[in-house]
Symmetry: C2
Subunit: 461 residues, 2 copies
């Protein structure tokens, strides 16, 4: 039996970051990372293998990131919690003092007839599989992407760059509707269509049809789309078999249950990343956010708490994400307006549009639109969306810090910001600040209306 | 006499933003903005007129920003605080209920012999004057920039783009040394030199020499530089004559004294922007930060407090700035390491370098370096510097929010961030988070050392 201080099961973003953090925090004698793949892919880089990068090899995470942690390429098949050891498919038994589960997620295959035909792919984080997908795309003329979430939209954009005839089929009323509000979705859909990609929303796939190999897909209302290749991008489900078999608790959203220190119901076992249950920053309720940035954050929390609990606490998942589709960047932090309403918040929103450099004659100046969402009662920011130039990604991170620190509309309207002609909007129109000002004006209006009602004669007479 | 609710003296960034804010907050019947210039220039855009924009007209702030505020092109010459009115050079008398002074600053002319020669320019915010400068540059071969602060460095970069032979002469040991720490300054100086600009630091100008018109400048140690044009970029001094003559108090750094609501010692008069005294967020002491982004922030505070005091409070100036010189962006927030040491802080710093897209094979990926500075005792962030790709500007704004909300190194190491291949660094190496992790590791080391000393036998035996 191999003896170690720490075993990490899974070596994608979460597993690697956990290995890095544990080494920094505790300098243990021996850490072993067990993963199935010799090479792990940058998860968010996967769509870009197809067109922009050109090969999966360009999207591999450097092994050097693991530092002094040992990598074993094998599959953990069971956990013995009594003995504190794991067994692998390769016949190894490895004892642990602390165990971190970072087993990730796997693509959901929707129950569509024909989903098992040749040239129907999901999005697996495996080099060989993605190579097959890329080879199939190189031979194809028509490709259908089932699912217009951000992964589906990114794949569509990349396939379009490969010169393919691309169709997105989305069940919901808009692409990206689980990530952004309708107005932002429409803007992105317009941009996608401008590049020649067909976008079909509120459209259900009934079957994938072909002789051994996909030929077309059939949707409701009898609509058909030719499809030499079909990519199923309808989400992912947490890999929890190992945890479940070991008797660890599973949460309502089917992830491994963890407390706010990322500890499972076994104090020697932690779970992080896509396989772990997530809880909403705003409501504490379980949510299904699965992002590499969330996974690595959880890894930094778990890694710090391994041997000295409660060094770091997870106050919940805010959910911050960015993407760039059809040349337009989007950054989102926290709740969308729709989600906030569903949660029962009374909302006030504020919007601002301005170019992202100044004056507008600066080369490369691109329009960037920001919407901020505030709770009417606390006046705190609970969400934000940015759309336009490439700084939208970091602008989402500004919004995230504002959310995490509980800034009010007034706080943001007087936030300390720096501006520069080549780097940001003008200080007179800086989008986040101006969106907050727009919300402040609405809040005053609401206050005046409330005061008017309260002071109305009918109350005092 | 013209009667108004609000008179704003000065219509550059601060004055315009005040007009916008007052209208939003109070909807007064009449606001008058009095400024000397028919057209006001985007202040930070001025260097870019020379090369990138090509003309001052492309750098004018749209008059539409003023909304319903009236613009009077004239000069206010005196304030009658008893009567509550201002008099102008054009013979107008305008009464006010509330007065906002946004009189700005003017370039400092260093006491160098020859500073009055033809083709020696300062940096005035005046279209005609800047046109003369641009015309002189078009005729020139050699230009010397006196002062290697960020304005001087930006002018040098633009003159270089015009094909001129450019020399920077800086009195201090490095360019930008008042804005960034030495290591960042050296990196930028290297980049500037790579573009062919000569950089001479620790170099004092003794005189500007020429027959009516500048021909060369003479520095200490007998060094000479040819100079068909000399640009003096050694800072600016607040315009406070009007305030001083009206008996308003002046601060230690020579700005108009204001309280945390931007109110002068006259409750009906507010002062904002370059003419107003600034106080350090960290120490409360007067500082000489003059930036358009700070000016507009003060305008949003003053504008909200005019008729209903204390709606918004200024908790001090953090100082956030960005620039792009020789193709390299810099973003800085809060204190530099040097300034923090001068203020007596016990420091811990953390650094991280990574490309600003991921994987590194993504097109346009540029190295971006972040340094964060923490107070060893509170563990709170007190400063940050970013250098590299163009997102450094917005990254400074993330750091600023972290400073404003008092985030500790541990908080930042577990910050909620979003990442994307085309927009940010990888979640495994995201610079701000990793710089915080580096600081956390040092803090643990310090803690262990302190514990080791405290538990040493000599104390207990």
């Amino acid at each position: 039996m191999k003896k170690t201080d720490v075993v990490i099961v899974g070596g994608s973003a979460a597993g690697i970051e956990a290995a890095i953090t544990v080494q920094k925090q505790y300098k243990p004698d021996r850490i072993i990372v067990v993963r199935k793949e010799e090479k792990a892919l940058v998860p968010c880089g996967i769509p870009y293998i197809m067109g922009t990068l050109g090969s999966a090899e360009k999207n591999v995470m450097p092994k050097a990131l693991l530092g002094d942690a040992e990598l074993i390429v094998d599959e953990v098949t069971s956990i013995d919690r009594e003995v504190k050891s794991v067994a692998t498919a390769g016949g190894e038994t490895i004892s642990y003092d602390k165990l971190i589960l970072a087993t990730g997620s796997r693509p959901i295959v929707p129950p569509i007839p024909g989903a098992d035909l040749k040239n129907v792919f999901t999005i697996r984080k495996e080099i060989d599989y993605l190579q097959q997908l890329q080879d199939a795309l190189k031979q194809a003329k028509d490709v259908v992407i089932v699912g217009g979430g951000f992964i589906g939209a990114e794949f569509a954009d990349e396939c379009r760059k490969m010169g393919l005839n691309v169709t997105i089929v989305e069940l919901l009323e808009h692409c990206l509707i689980l990530n952004c509000d309708e107005d932002f979705c429409i803007r992105i859909e317009d941009k996608i269509r401008e590049t020649g990609v067909q976008v079909n929303t509120t459209c259900r796939v009934k079957s994938i049809v072909g002789d051994k190999k996909t030929e077309y897909i059939e949707c409701d209302k009898g609509i058909r789309f030719n499809a030499d290749v079909v990519i199923l991008a309808v989400g992912a489900a947490p890999n929890t078999e190992l945890a479940r078999d070991a008797g660890l608790e599973i949460g309502k959203m089917k992830g491994i249950w963890v407390d706010q220190y990322m500890m499972t119901n076994d104090p020697n076992i932690f779970a992080i990343g896509d396989c772990a249950e997530k809880f909403c920053f705003f409501t504490g309720k379980p949510i299904a956010t699965r992002l590499a940035s969330v996974a690595t954050r959880e890894a930094r929390i778990a890694g710090a708490n391994l041997f000295q609990p409660r060094r770091r606490r997870n106050q919940g998942t805010i959910g911050v994400f960015g993407t760039m589709i059809a040349g337009t960047a989007i950054g989102v932090a926290g709740l969308t307006e729709r989600a906030a309403k569903d949660f029962g918040f009374d909302l006030v929103t504020g919007e601002a549009i301005a170019v992202d450099k100044h004056p507008g004659a600066m080369p490369g100046a691109t329009e960037l639109r920001v919407k901020l969402i505030f709770d009417q009662n606390s006046r705190k920011i609970i969400g934000g969306e940015a759309c336009g130039g490439a700084t939208a990604g970091e602008i989402a991170n500004i919004m995230a810090q504002a959310i995490a620190s509980g800034m009010t509309a007034n706080d943001i309207a007087t936030a300390h910001v720096g501006t520069h002609p080549a780097l940001t909007a003008s200080p007179l129109v800086y989008q986040i600040v101006k969106a907050a000002e727009a919300a402040v004006a609405k809040l005053y209006y609401i206050e005046e209306r409330v005061n008017a009602i309260l002071s109305h004669k009918s109350w005092t007479s």
